[in-house]
């Protein structure tokens, strides 16, 4: 009924239709916005990309549940977005000032006020409770198949595999598919945040604290991430890549890595120099193999040209 009236008003079949010029602008604006957003969402390569596809193709159970929770929230909350906007729009159409109409005088309606407090309260309780199992899942890591340590530095990531005695920086994190990864996060200087959107996990790396997250990737491939907490001038350059491989391949990689590290004198975890050198070699190899890895470098060269790169940044770049 109301919608038909709205349509009639708009198309000028009712007395209110003559005010169309005002409303036309509103409609046009909203339409334009929708079209523009839609067009750019389609045109942008974004949503199909590994960094972004957690909404379409989640690769961890956490990401999938976050996605499902997101759509559930949208379903529950949508009325509270749409109804006020519609009421506002209809009101603007319907109640334009005219000489032959007197304004209403009501200014209280207790049942109505109770209703619009109680119904949202109910919806909020439902949505809040609906996310409890997921929060519990995020909070309680299952038994770890692979433990890693992620250490934030200005401005690069250091990864350690304590079970294997491997430590490395400036290279992609390599993880096996289908196994529970439990990561301990910390930082040696300022706050950083480890974020791989495709995994649906994010946690701050806080110096002096160890935060824990876990995930289990179901699909092999390259995944992009980034430091998500402002950590200084080169914050933007603090990208990260995760290479998820078949478990067998992962074992092979571990062996190769250990062989490489043991080929050098000194302890793997302690010898920073050897690790850095090793990282350089590995990085060069990756650049050929992996298109994503090459893309990472878009951000770094300008920093060097300006001569602003610190020791840390030089490590990141090279």
């Amino acid at each position: 009924m109301l919608i038909m009236k709205f349509v009639n008003d708009f198309t000028g079949r009712s007395p209110l239709g003559r005010h169309c010029t005002v409303h036309l602008k509103t409609i046009l604006t909203l339409g334009l916005l929708c079209v523009a957003s839609g067009a750019y969402a389609q045109a942008g390569p974004g949503l199909d990309d590994p960094i972004t596809n957690w909404i379409n193709e989640p690769v961890t159970s956490i990401a999938r549940e976050v996605r499902n929770n997101f759509w559930f929230l949208t379903l529950m909350f949508a009325p509270f977005l749409i109804i006020p906007q519609l009421v506002l729009l209809i009101g603007i159409f319907k109640f334009k000032d005219s000489a032959n109409r007197k304004p209403a005088t009501f200014h209280e309606n207790v049942p109505l006020e109770i209703a619009w407090t109680a119904i949202p309260a109910l919806v909020l309780v439902v949505t809040a409770v609906s996310s409890f199992p997921l929060i519990k899942k995020i909070e309680t890591p299952p038994p770890a198949d692979v433990r890693i340590e992620v250490i934030g530095h200005q401005f690069f990531w250091e990864y350690r595999y304590p079970e294997y005695g491997i430590a490395m920086s400036n290279e992609p994190l390599v993880l096996p598919k289908g196994e529970n990864i439990v990561a301990d996060l910390t930082s040696v200087d300022v706050n950083h945040a480890f974020w791989v959107p495709a995994f649906g996990v994010k946690m701050d790396c806080v110096p002096g604290r160890i935060n824990q997250i876990w995930w289990n990737v179901e699909k092999t491939g390259w995944y992009k991430g980034q430091c998500a907490e402002l950590c200084g001038a080169l914050h933007a350059a603090m990208l990260l890549d995760v290479h998820v491989v078949e478990p067998a391949e992962f074992e092979a990689w571990i062996d190769a890595k250990l062989a490489e590290l043991n080929g050098e004198p000194g302890d793997a975890a302690g010898a920073g120099e050897s690790i850095a050198e090793q990282a350089d070699i590995d990085d060069a190899e990756n650049q050929e193999a992996d298109p994503i890895r090459r893309e990472v470098d878009f951000i770094n060269p300008p920093l060097d040209e300006q001569g602003r790169a610190t020791d840390a940044a030089t490590e990141t770049t090279e």
């Binding site: 929230l73 200014h107 604290r209 200084g232």
Partner: protein
């Protein structure tokens, strides 16, 4: 006429009433509380010095607003630099250091020198008029509150010219990044001192508002007869008074860590960076409400006035404002869902954050009911009020998602959050300030702002806000982190749209400033016109029962409300 809640019956008649019967003055016995004559006129030092030395709440209110406008132009320019840098993925319009300075100072200027002072400006001007007082309770402290903002601004902006430049640690200034080891140079120190001074301004201002509202209401003006704008400022002042000292304490610890070798936030010496986040957000989340609550008040007045209706659900509105004031202090942890706080805290803050949606929802629904059934006049102020309701609803909608822990973890520190709070602050607070400017300008300046230009400003701003901040939500969901100087090429298309939106908003700002200049060059309307919008027969607010602009000390006789 009987009294109804939220409005004042027969105000105009009452003000003139003393003429018809013998007043206390003629009998020679002064009224107990209020001097019958306005206080001594100020000595005349010429228009310029009179303005600078004034303790009149109206002059100070306008000074606040002019200060906020000037700072707003600057803060907008900083945003322009940010958007220019981010138009494409690998530009180098500015260096990453300068970019971080821009990010830090855009936020700091917009919060501490634009929105908070502008709301204080409206409050200063309107609150005494609305409660029938001749000035604020402490006029000299009021002047102090304003003038201390000047050194604050000089410190904040002067830091651009010192060695190492302005603070680069973001307006949140999280340690350890903001400590000496990672932010050398005096930039952060100057920023901290600027925050201190701005905080002193806020606190003294808040004390002034509380004392004024509790003690200087005219006879008969009970709390539940106060206009909603006064209510929003009362709650707001309490929030400032409770929150700001905590912020001052937090940044002082940063200062002593930097300057005197204390170890509050240094992990190596047993300090805890997360402690700072708790203290910071204990103020800075309520600060969001501090920035938007007076806007709620303005919107209530504008919507009711141009619908020719009384505000709907006055009692519910008052309770909603008060509840926001209380719950606003219990939700800060949702800024820290990914900082490594305990699971029970995550649940608690998630719940409280959802809870605060209820009073906010009550306000939105009540505004819609206020407008419903009225005879709407599409003045520029009214359009801004409609725009506010629409955009603030979208902003609040994003907030509901962010209250949800799993989704918040995913988009925390991403552009989703940036889009969300810009909808609330730009689509909310600033939209309300525009509405207030168009609505109260005739009262303040005795002239009308150009309605046609106002229409243009509204549409440019409304479209600009949506084009700028809607794609940001999408960018955040796609995975673009905040505060990055360059970004992955995937995000290019949407960022170009965002930068385009900035152009709309900048154009709106320029036209708004032009329309103020244009209005001030027009002749004044007849000052005896009390109610230039012809709304007060329904609204019955004291502010529309005094000349435009109001004389010094506002009321010849203190009005009495029946």
């Amino acid at each position: 006429m009987t009294f109804e809640k939220g409005g004042l019956a027969e105000v105009s008649a009452l003000i003139e009433e003393p003429k018809s019967k013998p007043s206390a003055d003629e009998k020679g016995t002064p009224a107990p509380h209020f001097p019958e004559h306005p206080l001594k006129p100020q000595r005349n030092y010429g228009a310029f010095l009179n303005t600078l030395g004034s303790t009149d709440h109206k002059v100070l209110g306008i000074l606040y607003l002019v200060f906020a406008l000037a700072a707003g132009i600057l803060g907008g320019a900083f945003a322009g630099v940010i958007r220019a840098q981010l138009t494409s993925s690998n530009l180098e319009v500015v260096s990453p250091e300068v970019y971080n300075m821009m990010v830090t100072m855009h936020a700091s200027v917009m919060i501490f020198f634009v929105i908070i002072p502008a709301m204080a400006g409206f409050g200063n001007y309107l609150v005494p008029l609305m409660i029938g007082a001749r000035d604020m309770a402490f006029p000299r402290m009021n002047a102090f509150s304003f003038w201390i903002l000047i050194p604050a601004a000089i410190l904040a902006l002067g830091s651009f010219f010192v060695e190492g430049g302005a603070a680069q640690a973001g307006w949140t200034a999280y340690p350890p990044l903001s400590l000496k080891e990672y932010s050398g140079g005096p930039g952060v120190d100057m920023w901290v001192l600027a925050v201190h001074l701005a905080g002193i301004s806020s606190i003294t201002g808040a004390i002034n508002f509380i004392v004024t509202i509790f003690n200087m209401r005219c006879p008969g003006m009970s709390l539940m007869k106060m206009p909603l704008f006064v209510w929003t400022w009362l709650v707001n002042a309490w929030m400032i008074l409770v929150g700001t000292p905590v912020l001052a304490g937090a940044v002082t610890m940063i200062l002593t860590d930097r300057a005197f070798g204390t170890n509050f936030f240094k992990p190596a010496s047993g300090g805890d960076p997360v402690l700072y986040q708790h203290l910071f957000w204990f103020y800075s989340h309520p600060a969001v409400y501090i920035m938007v609550l007076p806007g709620f008040g303005i919107i209530s007045h504008v919507l009711a006035s141009f619908s020719r209706k009384r505000i709907f659900g006055y009692v519910g509105m008052v309770w909603a404002i008060a509840l926001i004031g209380v719950i606003g202090f219990l939700v800060w942890g949702h800024h820290m869902f990914s900082a490594g706080i305990s699971p029970s805290l995550r649940l608690y803050f998630s719940f409280m954050t959802m809870l605060i949606a209820l009073p906010t929802g009550i306000k939105i629904f009540s505004w819609l009911a206020t407008m419903w059934g009225g005879t709407i006049r599409f003045t520029a102020a009214m359009k801004f009020a409609f725009g506010f309701v629409s955009l603030f609803t979208i902003g609040g909608f994003g907030g509901l998602y962010l209250a949800n822990v799993p989704f918040d973890i995913q988009v925390h520190d991403s552009y989703f959050v940036v889009g969300h709070f810009h909808y609330v602050l730009v689509g909310g607070s600033i939209m309300a300030m525009f509405a207030g400017a168009y609505f109260f300008f005739p009262k303040m300046a005795g002239r009308f702002l150009d309605e046609k230009l106002g229409n243009l400003v509204f549409w440019l701003w409304f479209i600009g806000v949506n084009v700028t901040f809607l794609p940001m939500h999408l960018l955040g969901v796609m995975g673009m982190a905040r505060r990055i100087w360059q970004y992955r090429p995937e995000f290019e298309a949407l960022n170009a749209v965002v930068s385009l939106g900035y152009v709309f908003m900048a154009a709106a700002g320029v036209i708004f400033v032009y329309s103020i200049v244009k209005a001030l060059r027009q002749p004044r309307i007849d000052p005896s016109i009390q109610d230039p919008w012809h709304i007060n027969d329904v609204q019955q607010t004291l502010i529309w029962a005094v000349p435009s602009p109001p004389p010094a000390y506002n009321f010849d006789k203190i009005p009495v409300i029946k």
